[in-house]
Symmetry: C2
Subunit: 156 residues, 2 copies
Amino acid sequence: MVAGPLPAPSGPGKDRLRLWIRLLRASRTIEADLRERLKKDFNTTLPRFDVMAALYRAPEGMLMSDLSRFLLVSNGNVTGIVDRLVSEGLVARARRNGDRRTSMVRLTEDGVKSFGIIAAAHEGWIGELLGKVSEDDARRLTGMLTSFRSNWEGRE
Amino acid sequence: MVAGPLPAPSGPGKDRLRLWIRLLRASRTIEADLRERLKKDFNTTLPRFDVMAALYRAPEGMLMSDLSRFLLVSNGNVTGIVDRLVSEGLVARARRNGDRRTSMVRLTEDGVKSFGIIAAAHEGWIGELLGKVSEDDARRLTGMLTSFRSNWEGRE
DNA sequence: GCAAATTATTTCAAGCTTAAAGTTTTATAT
DNA sequence: ATATAAAACTTTAAGCTTGAAATAATTTGC
């Protein structure tokens, strides 16, 4: 007598599993919506937006490895995205005098201008997409996710 | 006098933006970890796991379009993943008599066995990764995400 | 000084992903 | 009946993603 594949999941561990599934679905739902809007309204992509957002916060520039660490993606991945942004004139690489392995990556003037416009729209979209989440819940959720992050970073 | 790019974000709408960023980072962090474990321990991938998980819940099989809707990915995407799973003998396609456009996709016997093993490990990983989230927070978070989902599905 | 280890980045192959266009089959409206 | 539309998939091209291997520059340990 074996449990079928379809009993309502319950028991220890199931609460965490359910939480993970909800979390993943929520973020994929929102991500898909943002991706579509970025394409339709600005003919760009989420990875490009992510890179530009990171660089916008660092006017002095970032190393490739900083970018990949910050964005939680692989090194090789960032290379390709930055290559495309460079070819579009939105981002520039500058070799450094000190260490010739590294290059400082930063937004160009065009990049800053372009990102500013897209970011404003983006913030509006998020307000729209998450509008039904009460201010209170938003802050509570954020708090929980922040403490998740702290625990994660402090893990052995 | 323009606000610099680095003031702590604040004001209306910023709470939602911050929530979204936290949500995205949490799910990417966990996703990256799961991806790595799936590769190392079972030489498989998250998309393959996702498809198999969906099929495991539907012993009678699913249509390709059901799969893509459920997983929130495009049609063509599912085609490729299922192709690979079929070539590995974990999944089977069966043409239906009724409608020759469609094919019922289901796990093979091997697929069921294989998924059972991986899913057990997966649940353990999640328990581990989210272990620091209290039972209470887990349930609260799940509740908020569930209501987000309802609002989303009920949007105009 | 110099070999060995480390660090920063790029390249590569395989696979994932999307949006758009194409194919085949079924349903609908004359 | 038969054109037209709709539905279920697949194919395609471009881009994203990873992990591993390759390059090049710097640092470390004798």
